[in-house]
């Protein structure tokens, strides 16, 4: 037993109702999937295991233009907003996704907005005076003050609110939560901004899902448990390629690539230029260009089903365009996407034949030539049965249905954590971060520290189970956090967060608080874990309770003794040559105690008692030395200092001690990682 003193705080307890009666509140079938796109957004439902269905407006369109018009209050969203764009360019916002989570210094592309940044990293878009106010009010009046600003997050929230309303009209009741898709390359700030937008729109964001992962889920590619996939996403204005690895039921993005200025619009432009050239129009007017582009777009779409089509440009004679002509025009553009594909494969360390599937996303992948070239590059026919405009929303809807608590293809959500989740710490001891039987979803955070000064990395070993030593638990994941600054023992601070979301996907992230270096991993702790296995592991921990307790104490005693030995050796090396600090006879006794400690630690099976005795002996022998060092440091420190300074230094020291002690899990709101 490691205890010494008893603090009787006199806390009084009441008997509580059993923990397992507090169940997570879920509303099966009321989760919605949202593809929040740069140009268009979609919302889909897949309630109670049904096939996904994109919600359409009265004209049959599932695409809601990602455009918000602040010409009215509340703002207009979608097609109605788009119709006002030409008339009110300053108050109608489109493509806001490109501004999400960005600061002024990140914006390197052309845009028509007046942006400002009052708080660093938080953009605001000027949208002019409120509706109904006098336009062109005299200077000095409230005109300036009335100018309104919105954040990109608020604009996205307006789009999400519209999609939520569309879903609720269909459901006939409030929706419970949403899965929102984001590009695989979105960073933490962009993800957080998207999450915030969901919350502002009144949605519980179950999870943000990477767009390529959503597409893979739509095709049910997760069912195999393992696999390698490519997702080729060619939209109107952007191209993205992602290489995914499915490992133990979790998708990881191995590599991403693409071109943020390449898409179907470029195909239209190329065909339009070709049509004008064939018509002998050398210098087209703005009107001719626009008309040619609209005609080219329609022709492009017809050439998906036909091998030739006729195009009539206003005021010019009709032309016939063949699919071959069109294909020759877009070939250089298509080759650019394929180069990005080969690079992404290379970045992922893979060759095309190693892939298990290729998924097509984005309207431009309807072009037959694109399908052909993709098949050639990846050496297999791509998956293209699901409408490429809707496939991402489908995947989001399936995930949302699962997270709402619906039973789906054998997926059942757990209400409580079946086995504790923790980390291996010094000495192979398990520090439990999320205890068994905690209600899912849950998040917890704990701060860990360095053991030695030369330690500039930390191995984060995530384990599952009830046993006290890591070697007796299930190993879930392991990663290195590198780049920890060289600091004295116990001074580095690494914050580790465990976040377990509704379908038991665990995200472990570690962050060094001084440098901000960060690393994370996602695992499914329940993957391949049967109920019988859980029972066995729990019973095992009860059977080994006694041994485990002794072994944990021994491991803790060893770590503690090691720490003291290391600290003393460092101190002796630093100041031990100063006779007034460490007289010869005392030095000899100290060396003997250090040797005894080494001897105690040399026995790998040593139990806690001898290790603790060695430590107590060492602390006793070194006590005068420690006191003299402390006095010397204080004298040096206090010379020329006022009482005020000393008091402040002591307060700082207290705060530091408190920080060092920061070693216990802190439960978090699962919504806030």
């Amino acid at each position: 037993m490691t205890s010494v003193s008893i603090h009787d705080t006199g806390a009084l307890f009441q008997i509580a109702e059993p923990t397992d009666q507090r169940r997570a509140q879920r509303r099966p079938g009321r989760g919605i999937g949202i593809d929040l796109g740069t140009t268009n957004s979609l919302v889909a439902l897949a309630p109670h295991g049904a096939a996904p269905r994109v919600l359409r407006d009265s004209s049959g369109s599932g695409l809601v233009p990602s455009v918000v018009a602040y010409t009215t209050d509340p703002p207009l969203v979608g097609r109605a907003a788009q119709a006002l764009q030409a008339e009110h360019p300053g108050q109608v916002i489109s493509s806001v996704k490109r501004l999400m989570g960005r600061g002024l210094s990140d914006i390197h592309f052309a845009h028509p907005y007046h942006l400002s940044e009052e708080t660093p990293g938080l953009l605001r878009i000027d949208i002019g005076s409120p509706p109904g106010s006098q336009v062109g009010s005299p200077p000095g009046s409230s005109g300036e003050a009335q100018s309104r600003r919105v954040t990109p997050t608020e604009v996205s929230a307006a789009i999400l609110r519209e999609l939520k309303l569309r879903a609720e009209a269909e459901l006939g009741e409030p929706c419970d939560g949403a899965v929102i898709t984001v590009p695989a390359y979105f960073d933490e700030a962009q993800r957080q901004a998207t999450r915030d937008a969901g919350r502002i729109a009144g949605l519980q964001v179950y999870r943000l899902l990477a767009e390529p992962t959503a597409a893979a889920l739509a095709y049910g590619l997760d069912r195999g448990g393992e696999g390698l996939f490519a997702v080729y996403d060619l939209g109107g204005g952007t191209f993205d390629i992602s290489i995914l690895r499915l490992h133990k039921g979790v998708f990881q993005v191995l590599a991403t690539g693409g071109d943020s200025a390449l898409g179907g619009d470029d195909f239209d432009r190329a065909l339009a230029a070709h049509l004008l050239q064939r018509s002998g129009v050398g210098e087209p007017s703005r009107f001719q260009l626009d008309a040619a582009r609209i005609a080219a777009r329609a022709a492009k779409e017809r050439l998906t089903g036909e091998t030739a089509t006729r195009v009539a440009l206003p005021g010019l004679s009709e032309l016939e365009v063949t699919r071959g002509e069109f294909e020759a025009l877009i070939e250089p553009l298509a080759q650019r996407t394929l180069r990005a594909c080969r690079q992404a494969l290379k970045d992922a360390g893979l060759r095309a034949p190693e892939l298990d599937g290729v998924v097509l996303v984005g309207g431009s992948t309807r072009v037959p030539k694109i399908r052909e070239l993709v098949a050639e590059t990846f050496k297999r026919p791509p998956l293209a049965d699901i409408d490429p405009d809707e496939v991402v929303a489908w995947g989001a809807a399936i995930q949302a249905d699962i997270l709402s608590g619906s039973a789906r293809e054998g997926v059942t959500l757990l209400d409580v954590v079946p086995l504790s989740l923790g980390l291996e710490t010094m000495g192979g001891i398990v520090e439990k971060i999320i205890p068994r039987n905690a209600t899912i979803p849950i998040a917890a955070r704990q701060v860990f520290t360095n053991y030695a000064e030369h330690q500039t990395g930390m191995v984060i070993h995530v384990v599952q189970g009830e046993r006290e030593l890591a070697r007796d638990c299930r190993s879930l994941a392991r990663f290195d956090l590198k780049g920890i600054p060289r600091l004295p023992p116990s001074m580095a601070r690494v914050e580790v967060t465990f976040q377990l979301d509704a379908d038991a996907l665990l995200t472990v992230s570690a962050r060094e608080l001084m440098t901000g270096v960060r690393q994370s991993v996602e695992v499914k702790p329940t993957y391949g874990l049967s109920e019988a296995e859980v029972d066995r592991l729990v019973m095992e921990s009860l059977d080994h309770a006694g041994d485990d307790y002794a072994r944990r104490n021994a491991a803790e005693a060893r770590v503690e003794l090691g720490r003291v030995v290391l600290a003393l050796r460092t101190a002796v090396t630093e100041v031990g040559h100063l006779r007034e600090l460490l007289p010869e006879d005392e030095r000899a006794r100290l060396e003997a105690a250090l040797a005894a400690a080494d001897a105690a630690m040399a026995d790998p099976d040593a139990v806690a008692d001898p290790l603790n005795r060695a430590r107590t002996a060492l602390e006793k022998v070194s006590e005068p030395f420690a006191r003299r060092r402390m006095e010397r440091a204080l004298n040096a420190g206090m010379a020329g200092k006022s009482l005020h300074d000393i008091e402040r230094a002591l307060a700082d020291e207290d705060a530091l001690q408190e920080k060092r002690a920061g070693h216990t899990p802190e439960l978090l709101d699962p919504e806030e990682p």
């Binding site: 009787d8 109702e17 059993p18």
Partner: protein, 110 residues
């Protein structure tokens, strides 16, 4: 052999509370779990299931208090009592194993 004691006064209150809850035969589970501001905290709740094979069952005046074998290592020698005083009424755990306790007394360290 690890042990736990329940005072008669505590047992009487437990019996009353079990009766009022309509489950005079239920157990009362005492345990240790992770969490709280200094690491571990007490678990103290009604348990409608029968004791498990490995549980320590302490019977006092007809009331069964059960402890799982793992928690028992941290509870060995604890006396469960009931106190009434200016700070209110409640059960009190006199646990000889505690090293530190936080201000609220609900978290303990060993």
């Amino acid at each position: 052999m690890p042990s736990l004691t329940v005072t008669s006064r505590a047992a009487k209150i437990m019996r009353d509370q079990l009766a009022r809850r309509g489950t005079p035969q239920a157990c009362i589970r005492l345990g240790i779990r992770g969490g709280g501001c200094t690491g571990y905290s007490y678990l103290f709740e009604f348990d409608d299931k029968p004791p498990r094979a490995n549980d320590l069952v302490v019977e006092q005046d007809g009331v069964r208090v059960v402890v799982d074998p793992k928690s028992l290592f941290y509870l060995d020698g604890t006396e469960v009592d009931f106190e009434t005083g200016i700070r209110g009424h409640g059960f009190k755990f006199k646990n000889p194993n505690t090293k530190d306790a936080c201000g609220c007394g609900e978290s303990i360290s060993f």
